[in-house]
């Protein structure tokens, strides 16, 4: 017999385990967005980039052993750029822009 008391008990027990997170969770938790994970580039990606640059016909140079000065300068420039971007976004939030369509 399929619908015996023991089988029905097992069925509810199994499904209560499977549905536990949904039954316990509040509606807010169910629709939580996943956090974006920052993926890091690898050496293989850089090889792929060089191959792509070759195919595109762009002039490019690869510096495998850069000086600390050069890396420091680039880091500084990127940090400054990020700061300017933040300032621009803050000014946009306060003043906005007037662009017609």
């Amino acid at each position: 017999m399929l619908f015996t008391a023991n089988n029905i008990f097992l069925f509810f027990r199994l499904y209560s385990v499977l549905l536990q997170p949904f039954l316990k969770a509040q509606p807010k938790d169910l629709f939580k967005t996943k956090k974006t994970v920052e993926m890091e580039t690898t050496a293989a990606d850089m090889v792929q980039l060089c191959a792509y640059l070759d195919r595109a016909g762009a002039n490019y140079t690869i510096d495998t052993n850069p000086s600390e000065e050069k890396v420091g300068k680039i880091k500084q420039a990127i940090a400054r750029k990020n700061q300017l971007i933040k300032e621009a976004i803050n000014s946009f939030k306060t003043n906005g822009i007037s662009v017609s369509f």
Partner: protein, 133 residues
Amino acid sequence: MAKVKYEYALGNHVYQFAVILFDGSVVPYQVTFERDLYVDRSNVTLLNFYEGDDNKYFCLDVKETVIRIFNTFFGMFPYEKVYFETDLSHKRNYFKLMKFIRWAEAHSKTYNLIVDVVNKPGVYYAYITITKK
């Protein structure tokens, strides 16, 4: 086609435009050409006001208007050297650069693209210069 608003403020050439996406939302963008004080070159940035640095370059209008802005800028200053640098250690910047090269590939007859890649384990940067032929 998005309308572009041009401003010359504090020595910077600022182009602002807004794009309407398929879902009806409006996203404002800004392209800035910032002149260096000591070196004969300009730094360029494309900024999405809503997303900050996490730009989404999926809209065709953005591509079209950015190229139009570049054409107008190089029309005014044909001998200008335009550059920007990116931190390739984040994968999103890496894909952005790939996308930019794809954009530039179509305009290789009019513009020179020079990419200087710093490839050291853990230190990945790219320095891109654009000049008119």
